[in-house]
Symmetry: C2
Subunit: 153 residues, 2 copies
Amino acid sequence: MPCNKFGWHGKFKECGYRVTVGRKEILDVLTKTTGHLSAEEIYLKVHEKYQSIGLTTVYRTLDVLASIGLLQKFDFGDGRARYEIIDATNEKGHHHHLVCTECKRIIDYKDFIDEEVELLRKTEKALSEKYKFEIKNHLIQFYGLCSECQEHR
Amino acid sequence: MPCNKFGWHGKFKECGYRVTVGRKEILDVLTKTTGHLSAEEIYLKVHEKYQSIGLTTVYRTLDVLASIGLLQKFDFGDGRARYEIIDATNEKGHHHHLVCTECKRIIDYKDFIDEEVELLRKTEKALSEKYKFEIKNHLIQFYGLCSECQEHR
DNA sequence: TTTGCTAATGAAAACCATTTCCATTTATAA
DNA sequence: TTATAAATGGAAATGGTTTTCATTAGCAAA
């Protein structure tokens, strides 16, 4: 999968995907919107500008983006997948999530990210060698109760 | 949630849940079977012994077990939830997963678990204080291609 | 620019894991 | 033993996601 030129446009072409109006707009929404959007939320935002783009296309495009490593798909336990652009130059940068199992609220955090990245690098290297597993991505999440939901107990 | 007596039996009672044949058997299957079982797989195993226990009960019991912290629910991207008993005394012990995004194979690993646990403890403490978030559990997963799926490229 | 090939698309239908409904059963404490 | 509410099973409903298929549109080549 030699899909690593700069810019998603090049990456698309390189991987044999065509650049279409829908894909451009979906990527635009994902880039400009912070947060953890569901497919439907993305569809609604895209729909504001292009009424012709359907939910099916949104799903298909999200699959494509995830498969070429531009997008990460999350399961926060609320019954629908949520998506985030993977962008090192993103102001939010590398971060992880605290997931409230009660109200499903998501809190982004980036504390100890440096230490974490170092441990991950080490782990990834060892696991790659030991299991001949080619690591593309990782996921770290904490589950628990947000301050508000603790009070309701 | 003062649900922390020893043994699941006490934990059940303490949390106001009744101990039933179905729940006993489901817990038995989960304890005796290694791996990452789906609800249906658990149902089929339970069904071998007790034909009267339905899939609905399996789902409900899994929810209960997860809510009292005996069970962890996973999403490995194959369209169904998978479950693992959380058991410190388990021979497998604390481990995480490598998920092949191609064939959905799961590899358990426990390399660098000590360093990881230390970092997690530190992170959990800091995040608890900073966000007043009560952490109950965490998830670490690596995504990529297993050795077999790398060859098929 | 035009053409031809094929990927991409939209809308509707299908899919299918999970949840809900509801009448019946069962665990448990009095 | 009995009363009560929790637990249950089976069927139906739910709803996010995927598939189908006829149509549209990228884009490379002429």
